[in-house]
Amino acid sequence: MTVAIDRATGKRRGDRAPRPGRMQRLKHSYQKYWYAYAMIAPVVVVLGGLVLYPLVRGLYLTFTDANSLNSARTIGVNHIDATYKFIGLDNYKDILWGPTSYDRFWSHFIWTIAWTVLCVALHFCIGLGLALLLNQKLRGRTFYRLVLVLPWAVPTFVTVFGWRFMLADGGIINSMLDAVHLPAPSWLEDTFWQRFAAIMVNTWCGVPFMMVSLLGGLQSIDGTLYEAAEMDGANKWQQFRFVTLPGLRSVSSTVVLLGIIWTFNQFAVIFILFGNTAPDAQILVTWAYYLGFGQQPRDFAQSAAYGMLLLAILIVFTSFYRRWLNRNDQQLAI
């Protein structure tokens, strides 16, 4: 029986018989592909039920004025039916152009972009620096590596608690700053310092992943390339610029994309560091969560609309990123 394993058999496409009739084509394609479809069926079913259906339902909610007071709910034995109504695109209009849209959406939007860019840049630079250091012959290299991976090994929700205690008023960081006569900012109250603290903590959490992936990339660069560069008289900087960086390109374009997506969606750090106390330091994800679940009455419709906008931003960004990579003759390596 013909199956679609063309990569396994090296079967050529292209030299086909004249195009058969529709029924025959259907039958043929069924015979040829049914294995593949049977194999992806479980995931298709799961995605349909757990992603597509909620997505459609969420999309519908964004066109309504649903909140926790008019949604269907059960109190004790009484069941109350949903009474929310269809209001079209009003939610989106309100979020993007409404009277207080700057305070509610755009300020968080700008902060989210700044947060993503700064965090990923810091992750990447520090991670690359440490990976380069760890890639040399150095005594105790394994030990350093084990210690430096620690922030990744311990679950984020645990370490962020540690940071919260350290950053608290009178916590160790402020005591130390006091001891050296530096001003002690109120990390968890003042907006600027909240943002500073959030970036600091997230950088601390995210560097090990970058470091380890980039170290893997560095180790896969062919050593003879460096020898050749040396023969051609390249100095260390030129070797770094023209051998190391190009050699890392495929790994780094992947980890940077992953880093951007993860940082943009980072929930745990900000949620645990501040809870509901810091409205100005919330990025869009945690802000959407706050609208839907952190306040009373819960504004389901707006929260879902934020979610849709976030997804749209990410999809647009990823498509551009891929196109940009393709233009530079690179494949995305996920």
């Binding site: 679609a4 394993i5 063309d6 990569r7 396994a8 058999t9 592909y33 294995y35 593949a36 992806i40 995931v43 757990l50 997505l55 339902r57 969420g58 269907a72 630079c125 520090i126 620096g129 380069l132 250091l133 012959k137 150095l138 105790g140 210690v147 991976v149 620690l150 990744w152 090994a153 679950p155 929700f157 370490t159 608690f161 350290m166 916590g171 160790i172 600091m200 950088t203 380890v212 992936s213 460096y226 100095n235 260390k236 992947t254 929930f267 645990i272 809870g275 869009l284 959407a288 969560y289 679940f293 929260s303 879902a304 979610g307 976030l310 990410l314 999809i315 990823t318 390596a333 996920i334």
Partner: protein, 302 residues
Amino acid sequence: MSTTTLQTPPAEQAPGYDESPRPARRRGERSLTGKLVSHGILIVASLAALFPIAWLVFLSLGPDKDDYLHPGRIWDTMTFDNYSFVLQHTNFFEWMKSSLIVSLGTTVIGVMVAATTGYAVSRMRFPGYKKFMWVLLVTQMFPIAVLIVPMYQILSDLQLIDSYFGLILVYCSTAVPYSAWLLKGYFDTIPFEIDEAGRVDGLTPFGTFFRLILPLAKPGLAVAAFYNFITAFGEVAFASTFMLDDSKYTFAVGLQTFVSEHDAQRNLAAATAVLIAIPVSLFFYLVQKNLVTGLTAGGTKG
């Protein structure tokens, strides 16, 4: 913080190196100053990585909830009382049970559902392949905000709020596509000749997969399983929202209950945090080598 110091370019660019009159130095060897600077930066970075966790351990030994204000006092009154209190008088073991049920459930379902798909997209090309891969990619970047509201309503309709199964279902929405991606990367590294040999010997594609490829793919399956476990274990948003009964909290939710707006039992929170962190990080170190290769193995083919 260390963040600024670390970006200094690697130490081998120490001035004077290029004009060095000693050409006898072999590749990969560094000058003494270069080595010292490397060690210095690495030590500072290691301290920065270690300190918050060490501090958490230290705080967990102090008996009073306000000891974090005067850490000096802890040296004299060091005790394991917090640990015994957490183990005896809180829901620690209940939380552990919930965490394990939910994480293991997600792990098993995620890998089992995704395995055949990973194989299919690694080996076969079928109409709709590109669209399917795109869907797999996009579902991985769903922000929690997209699904949390509709999921909440759907689970309420199904009476699955506050149930382990409901939470497992929610986690599967990300675990399944992610595992499929990871597994595709791993299957790509298994030579196609093996499939060919199986096919020549008369196995169906299912037979090839189950008898030949699956046994070879055990390391890949382990990596996917581990990723699912870690993600489900550390997830905060869904768990905080969907689990209402405090005996069903996972660790990520339970830990938050120590610190509320009115009262902060920081010493107990620190002790619980340490108790959670030790087994998880040990486990992490055991498998971390495979972890990294697993993530980047898929990296060579698009």
